[in-house]
Amino acid sequence: MFFDSDLLMSALRALTPILLAALGGALCERAGVFNIGLEGMMLMGCFTAVTTSWFTGSPWLGVLAAALAAAAYSLILAVGAVTLRGDAVVLGIAMNLLAVGLTSFLLRTVFGVQGTFDDPSLAGLPLVGGFSPLAYLAWAAVAVATLVLSRHVWGLRLRGVGEAPQAAATLGVSPAKYQYAAVLVSGVLCGLAGAQLALGNVTLFSENMTAGRGWIAVVAVMLGRALPLGVLLAALLFGLAEAAGFRLQGLGLPQQATDAAPYVVTLGALFLTTARRRRRTTPAGAVS
């Protein structure tokens, strides 16, 4: 059978990095910061996780270091977009480029290899009940984010800042503070996503190994309307597409077709949801 529990399991494994990154993106979106630097933050997380695990022998320290490094990296967006009021889109693109360049440069200076670093003694994350511990963390993060955004005063203020920063400021809520917090948390989550990718899904680092997953996460935020549960569903869709792709590859379809599958599926899903939403809400001839 094609759709069986194995497929679901591999879909759930494929979805963890996307889910973590997309949750970070959703928080930023709610706080009014358009974060398309997820890809770069994840890549920094991948590299830091592998480097730290290699030099300390502990994948757990690798995870911790990845979260911290990616959070530090996300400060570029926080300072650039919130404090200096720069263009978040351009900053995000630049951060993604910088991450590719920086990790490739460091890969060669630290490990002296080009392309891929991969060593049998590099310690990866153990599996707990068939899943990486970070997968459980990602699911817990969905629940926490849902509760905080809908119930806790932090979440309500964060949404207020995103929807009407001036009104929030009038009520004594500092928009900058909440936006910084959202960006930094997204950095931590992307760092964890990177660690999961480089020490969980596989145990290696290769140049540009995120391969568009950060962008898929950006799309997942749009698809899920920046709601944690919606983001979970969108990430699950992507995970299923990736897992089904691998399955089809086993049945003889060329690898290129399965590589393209997640992007096509995501785009298709985006068509369906936005087209329906637009028919419902946008009056004809509206500007911008």
Partner: protein
């Protein structure tokens, strides 16, 4: 105000200087002498041995920089340059291999086919925004991946050169190639791209459509109020953009090694270098040319820097990105603070 002082305090100057300075810190960090390293970048790219290679790189970088600058002038970001480039290259390769016409006509047809393929694919991304409400940024990028996969599949299976171990098509027939200058690798492609730059400059400065594009970039709501039809403009700008990206792909296939090799067009990262150049120049025509040249020098000079100082050439990629980070954060030398808004 003094123009030179103004130029010195512009965010562009600040960003480039900051990038070069941080690059020097990296060099010191890896134990290399920054002066030797930057000297090697310059002599390796502008010296007699390197200038040919630099001009070949300029052809691709400037072509893509223009491709990305044209929509950027109206505030649209096309992130799908890679897909449009690869499809253009593939279309040119197929046309070059299977057209039963005299070689010069085949070359012309291959260039046109490359442009048409890129334009059509980019227009698809514009249609996604206009009709399905998927932001252009996302639709163009997501469409890029399947295009690369398709071209990769074609080069590996149906069109693969029999007996070759590389994922590449057969070599184009004799004479189906862009004429090169002397014995160098610089081809007529450079002239085509220069012509495109001149056309862009003229359109931007002297025509009504150029004015509409700039107005839309500065204030899209005002432009819409003044009667600029946004959907149509997006479609036309993206088609032009894709045509240029496709042209670069076709030029790449019609130059050495005269075939489509999977990954050869995208591996050097021309799309991203081109986007960086367009962003640095704020999509202004002359600025885009200068910025493309600057980044091509860095990219080619990076190789000779690696040879002389053993610092990985990826450093030049870091430098490029740092320039854009600073530029996007709108940092500049102080004293111009009050005029911040005026310079955007």
């Amino acid at each position: 105000m003094n123009r030179i002082a103004g130029a010195l305090r512009s965010p562009v100057t600040f960003s480039v200087l900051a990038g070069v300075l941080i690059g020097a810190l990296f060099l010191v960090g890896t134990g290399a002498d920054p002066f030797t390293a930057y000297g090697a970048v310059l002599s390796g790219s502008l010296g007699a041995d390197g200038i040919g290679s630099t001009l070949t790189t300029v052809t691709s970088v400037l072509g893509l920089a223009l491709a990305l600058a044209i929509p950027l002038r109206a505030g649209l970001i096309n992130l799908g340059g890679d897909g449009q480039l690869v499809l253009g290259g593939m279309a040119a390769a197929v046309t070059g291999l299977y057209t039963p016409l005299p070689a010069p006509l085949t070359v012309l047809l291959a260039l046109l086919a490359g442009m048409a393929a890129g334009a059509g694919y980019a227009a698809l991304a514009a249609l996604c925004e206009n009709h399905f409400g998927v932001p252009l940024l996302v639709s163009s990028l997501l469409l890029s991946y399947p295009a690369s996969s398709l071209a990769s599949y074609l080069a590996r299976y149906p069109l693969k050169e029999p007996g070759s171990s590389l994922p590449q098509t057969r070599q184009l027939p004799d004479g189906v190639a862009l004429p090169a200058f002397g014995s160098s690798t610089v081809t007529v492609g450079l002239l085509l791209v220069a012509l495109a730059a001149a056309t862009y400059w003229f359109t931007d400065r002297r025509t009504a459509i150029g004015y509409e594009i700039r107005m839309t970039g500065l204030n899209s709501r005002f432009a819409a109020y003044a009667g600029v039809e946004r959907g149509g403009l997006t479609l036309r700008l993206m088609a032009t953009s894709g045509a240029l990206a496709g042209l670069v792909g076709a030029i790449g296939v019609l130059s050495f090694p005269y075939r489509f090799l999977d990954g050869a067009l995208t591996a050097p990262g021309y799309t991203w270098t081109g986007l960086t150049a367009a962003l640095l120049a704020g999509a202004a025509p002359l600025g885009t040319v200068l910025a493309s040249f600057f980044f091509a020098v860095l990219q080619v000079g990076g190789l000779s820097m690696e040879r002389t100082t053993e610092v990985p050439r990826e450093l030049t990629q870091v430098l490029q990105a740092i320039v854009i980070v600073f530029l996007a954060a709108r940092l500049r030398f102080p004293r111009g603070r009050l005029r911040k808004k005026a310079a955007v």
